[in-house]
Amino acid sequence: MSALLDINNLHVNVDDKTVIKGLDLHIKQGEVHAIMGPNGSGKSTLAFMLAGRENYEITKGEVLFDGTDLSTLTPEARAAKGLFLAFQYPVEIPGVNNMNFLRASLNALRRARGEAEMDTAHFLRFVREKAASLGMQDDMLKRPVNAGFSGGEKKRNEMLQLAVLEPRLIVLDEIDSGLDIDALKLVADGVNALRSPERAMLIITHYQRLLDHIKPDRVHVLADGRIARSGDAQLAQTLEQSGYADYGGEPKQIKADKASATDAGMVANG
């Protein structure tokens, strides 16, 4: 099987600063890859670049998604091709009902793919089923998108969107940040339920603990904008012991949650 995502010698500038410096990554259908790395190593930049965020400039190399050069596609066209980014900080959209948002999204994707829109009755049944499978209450569907949601609720809402939109390539950007162990488990269950031979996943995380729940096929350590080391799931365990000291990061996780959030926040707002 050919790779769903092919990243070759990628260089990315954000605000004229080179953040990704020669990254290679190949993910086949059905595979789950994890990218780990110290703060500032370029993890979130990779996620935003893949999903087409503005100001993320590819200066060298290429990114092919199912054979198509991603840099030629708008964010919505990437979504229509089946790329989904679960945000580290899901955005609040006050006033827009979650259900309407999901429906508008799903139908926009279907239109872009030349499929018929899903009618209201069918859609309601479909969404309620998905929500129930994630242990979500119906009232969450009626609330405005992410507005006033707790950290855990926001992440679960991302899982609901995932389940409804059924993408082919899922990029999870630090979905474990700010979650307690119960919420983490719920989110991980949601992700695991979506594993399939047709679907690929790229899990971006600072911590090994998420990978206890979602077992990756491959683990890569990102350091200073390139893959410094790759291995199987065992590599994550090793990192848990030694930290990122060998990769230009902190010796071991200290004040880690806060530092990680700040790092990603800066990248996200760049």
Binding site: P75, V91, I93, G95, V96, S105, L109, P144
Partner: protein, 502 residues
């Protein structure tokens, strides 16, 4: 007491880029689908304004002496008044002598009795505008009917369902006909809510008003269908000065909707209307507006000056008046639909969506004048600014010293798109009775790049994203529109902002 807060777009954290603003400016009048002109022969009054023009208009309508005197008195007062300059709008001085004050399709001179006698060109115009003048079910399969009074420049072309309405005693006709057929009602109520010298534009209207709608709902009648008036300006250099008078007698109910459009022209056109509502004991009037006058092009050329005085009087106990407006058109809007809560236990409501794009300017809001005990009012205003537009909410809540236990809740939300537009919130609150409970909430927010990006990542394009977010922002107000128009208004909201983001 004055409390002024200005929220300027530039303060917003994430500025939308220059290209976006350029795209906003590309949104020109070509999106305005009602901009066509009907080629029809028209009879006009000579250009300019003097007492002879007032006499001309009155004579055209065969008006009784008392009404002519009323107009002439208004004209005299208007001449000594100054155009108001306190609103947050800017436009070149209007040359009141360079306008036509009366224009009517020639074919209307014979006063056609039925729709079959009306010039087909006129009927075609309304068909093109999507306004049903045939007495038909409005929507297939839906048992809702709507009666329409169609006003073209200075005259009413047709009023539908009059006979059906007459069966329940409801009077619905053009203002000119009401003067002929129900002079006692007109005489009793005309100017009783908006006195002829109330303000500069109201005085001008009182002198030269042409047509508008007249509604009377008899005691304890619930009007069996939606009533609506559709205003169309067609002639160039012509002002439209309509006058609407709605009286809901004791225990009655009526829901009324007005819509407005005009051709695209490079010159500005003046629209100075007066609307008076009177609700007697236990009566309720629901008045909705979908204002879609031509807004001018992207450079701010042309468009309607919409200088309107709308006021309702909850004259007796437990009367209720509710204003809902969706203001998307006009180059300049100056409009404050208000309620005088005269009776005890009266209720006034104001729900507003005002959109200003490109170089549009809006200064709109409401006044809630609490005179009666236990009167309550509610104000929900949603202002949206895009392009280089300026959008101001201006409101007054005042409580008379004898009005015990007054309640008011005000919520003013502003939404900014881009970083060249402005939103202003200017609430005045006057409480002369210590028992009053008055609440005011205001927010200003911006559609952020993050929100747009998030929506795009989920498959929506930028315009769909803006439409979704803005409709979410307006939802509370859209819900108050009659169901048939809510969907239409929702679309209009999105169309008005098309191209406002990259």
């Amino acid at each position: 007491m004055e409390n002024q807060t200005n929220e300027i777009a530039g303060q917003a954290k994430q500025a939308i880029k220059k290209e976006t603003v350029a795209q906003v400016q590309n949104l020109a009048g070509e999106k305005y689908k009602y901009g066509f002109t009907t080629d029809i022969e028209s009879e006009k009054a000579p250009k300019g304004l003097n007492s002879d023009i007032v006499r001309f208009i009155s004579a055209k309508k065969d008006e009784p002496e008392w009404l002519l005197d009323w107009r002439l008195d208004a004209f005299e007062r208007w001449q000594s008044m100054q155009e108001p300059n306190w609103a947050h709008v800017h436009y070149p001085p209007i040359d009141y002598q360079d306008l036509y004050y009366y224009a009517a399709p020639k074919s209307m001179a014979d006063r056609p009795e039925t729709l079959d006698d009306v010039d087909p060109e006129l009927l075609k115009t309304y068909e093109k505008l999507g306004i049903p003048l045939q007495e038909q079910e409005l929507l297939a399969g839906v048992k809702t009917r709507m009666a329409v009074d169609a006003v073209f420049d200075s005259v009413s072309v047709a009023t539908t369902f009059r006979e059906t309405l007459a069966e329940s005693g409801v009077l619905f006709c053009s203002f000119s006909e009401a003067v002929q057929q129900h002079p006692e009602l007109v005489k009793k109520y005309l100017g009783s809510v908006v006195p002829k010298s109330d303000n500069y534009f109201a005085a001008l209207n009182s002198a030269v008003f042409s047509d508008g709608s007249f509604v009377y709902i008899p005691p304890h009648v619930r009007c069996p269908m939606e009533l609506s008036t559709y205003f169309r300006i067609n002639e160039a250099n012509t002002g439209q000065f309509e006058r609407t008078l709605i009286i809901a007698d004791k225990g009655s109910y009526v829901s009324y909707l007005e819509g407005c459009t005009a051709p695209m022209r490079d010159e500005n056109q003046l629209h100075a209307a007066v609307v008076e509502l009177i609700a007697l004991e236990d009566a309720e009037i629901k008045y909705s507006t979908v204002q879609n006058w031509y807004p001018g092009d992207k450079e701010g050329r042309g468009g309607i000056y919409n200088f309107v005085t709308k006021r309702g009087d909850c004259r007796e106990t437990r009367a209720k008046i509710s204003w809902t407006q969706v203001e998307t058109g006009s180059a300049v809007t100056w409009k404050y639909p208000s309620c005088i809560l005269r009776g005890d236990d009266t209720v006034g409501e104001f729900y507003s969506i005002a959109i200003a794009n490109n170089l549009q300017q809006v200064d709109s809001g409401t006044k809630m004048i609490h005179l009666g005990k236990n009167s309550s009012s509610r104000i929900i205003s949603k202002g949206i600014s895009a392009g280089r537009a300026s959008n101001a909410y201006r409101g007054r809540v005042s409580v008379h010293q004898k009005a015990d236990n007054v309640r008011n809740f005000t919520q003013c939300d502003s939404l900014l798109i881009g970083d060249k537009c402005a939103a202003h919130t200017i609430p005045y609150i006057e409480a002369r009775n210590p028992s009053a409970i008055l609440e005011h909430e205001a927010t200003a927010s911006k559609i952020s790049d993050d929100q747009i990006y998030y929506c795009r990542q989920r498959g929506l394009d930028a315009e769909e994203a803006v439409g979704l977010i803005v409709n979410g922002f307006c939802r509370e107000v859209l819900q108050h529109l009659p169901m048939e128009f809510a969907v239409e208004a929702q679309k209009l909201v999105s169309i008005s902002l098309e191209g406002s983001i990259g």
